[in-house]
Amino acid sequence: MDTAHGTRLPPTLRVLRYHFYTYMRTWRSSLTTSFLAPVLYLAAMGVGLGSLINKHVGTVDHVRYLSFVAPGLLAASAMQVAASDSMYPVMAAIKWIRTYYAMLATPLRVLDVLLGHFAWVTVRLVLTAVAYLGVMAAFGTVHSPLALLAVPVAVLTGLAFSGVISAFAATQENDQGFATMSRMGLIPLFLLSATFFPLTQLPGWMHPVAYATPLYHGVDLCRMLVLGRVDRISAMWDVMYLAGLSAFGLLLARRLFAKRLVV
């Protein structure tokens, strides 16, 4: 019999430690989607397209196009990272590699697995947001000290997606649902949530649709903070929406993880 003379680390943090351990050995493969792609978008759209817009249209929402698009991409990259960490990794851990079952054969419980997963997603979101904010600063698109708050906002945006997507992933038997979700959900959101152009460019009937989706609120809030133009009422609604969706997603994930893993 073994009495653990260990570090007495709470079980949830042991799961987080596992994610760190694996990431240390496999980080190169995730670099492209979580960091390089958004930076390329910033360069291509912000600078390439931006110079065209500045010359022929002038400012967008009272700023150069690069400064307009950068915070949108910050929020969008949070969505990307959250989605990619909540789809295939969760399914692999349940169905193909069965990592979660390995954990559940030890003193760890479903709640530890769940919270450890979300703790890791949070860490990834923080790292991505900080790195991206650094790139934004290098491109000269950070116009206010409030931009630092864009990091927790990016995390909140990501968690809003991660909650419901992780819950969904726990119910799947194959990856068909993921392909549909990307094509019909994530990509339209990416393009139409005021990321690349103001909502006023869209027909009137599409505006309520955008307000109902999570990415718009993350984009809106990030842009306000990075440009230093905070509308208190709007910001409050944005935060409430994202926090509410995050809470809903986490609770749903708790239910569906337990249902799938303890039979």
Binding site: A4, G6, P11, R14, R17, Y18, Y21, R25, A105, T106
Partner: protein
């Protein structure tokens, strides 16, 4: 010709040989999934240091029982005590003292052999130094000593299974549970695994094994229960079961076109089983039975005299074979 009676389900297996509190104890244990009854009220006791088996075909309820003992699946009814604790309330504590080798691998394929051991040990919150020491010993034991830095994915099935066993032992558990440990392995890998398990047994580790291979049950188990359709049909040591439910020897006969002259074979043996491809005549002296068969002018295509096995026990109890 006698007919087997599947309703003669035998007495429970709770006769703990040593008299002290059993490591695992079940009474009326049941598991239901919606309308499917996987485990239908079973009783058994497993004593410390013994090697205990659950023998039965696929779908008998063995894995469901294992998962309940391993505190990974909640019971539907009855009582179950593992290491003196109740799985419903003390799951994490029990899991901290048992090792599980599941039927399907749960290894991290992208990481190395040593990584897998380190990770698992850290789930138990063991210090890194302790895990490394134990890992070295366990890898030697599992004959994977020179593969510590290799990625797991390209390893053979047998190596992966040995790694899983080494991993399950990293916390020095009181009880090791193995669910179908040699399914899918080639004969060489199976024998190496049995050798390792035998060594563990001799070190006093309590083993619980489920299997549908009668040779595995005979080789490894001190006592076992025969499970079928969620119930325990019989229990005892392999030798006791064979003595009780089968004769010492069996005469196997195969006939042209599979057509056995069943009526003409009456009275030669204590019991007979007619299978699709052969007839089994159970007798204490198989050679004499064969002489009698010949004496009656019956000319089988093929004949074989062999000792009875647990397969014959299962056949006698249920009228079916262990492996379809």
């Amino acid at each position: 010709m006698q007919s087997h009676s599947p309703s003669s389900l035998a007495a429970p297996a709770h006769e703990s040989p040593t008299g002290e509190e059993p490591v695992v104890s079940a009474r009326g244990l049941a598991k239901r999934f919606d309308d499917l009854v996987a485990v239908d009220s079973v009783d058994f006791d497993i004593a410390r240091g013994e090697s205990f088996g659950f023998l039965g075909p696929n779908g008998a309820g063995k894995t469901s029982t294992m998962r309940m003992i391993a505190c990974m699946s909640p019971k539907s009814a009855g009582t179950l005590r593992v290491l003196g604790m109740d799985p419903d309330t003390d799951g994490p504590a029990i899991r901290g003292r048992i090792g599980l080798v599941p039927q399907e691998d749960t290894l991290d394929l992208q990481l190395t052999v040593l990584d897998n051991l380190m990770i698992y040990g850290r789930y138990f919150d063991l210090p890194k130094k302790v895990i490394r020491e134990r890992a070295q010993r366990l890898l030697e034991f599992a004959e994977l000593g020179d593969r510590a830095a290799d990625t797991v994915e390209p390893l053979s099935g047998g190596m992966k299974r040995r790694l899983t066993i080494a991993r399950a032992l990293i916390s020095e558990p009181d009880l090791l549970i193995l669910d179908e440990p040699t399914t899918g392995l080639d004969p060489q890998a199976r024998h190496l695994l049995w050798d390792r398990l035998y060594r563990l047994k001799s070190q006093g580790v309590t083993l619980v094994i489920t299997t549908h291979y009668m040779d595995e049950a005979e080789q490894l188990c001190d006592r076992l229960v025969v499970m079928d359709k969620g119930r325990i049909a019989a229990s005892g040591s392999p030798a006791d079961l064979i003595e009780h439910y089968a004769t010492r020897e069996v005469l196997e006969l195969r006939f042209h076109g599979g057509e056995a002259p069943v009526e003409r074979l009456q009275g030669i043996a204590d019991r007979a089983e007619v299978l699709p491809d052969r007839v089994l005549l159970y007798s204490s002296d198989g050679d004499r039975a064969l002489e009698e068969v010949r004496a009656r002018g019956i000319d089988p295509l093929n004949s074989l005299v062999r000792r009875s096995t647990l397969e014959d026990v299962f056949l006698s109890l249920t009228g079916r074979t262990l492996v379809d």
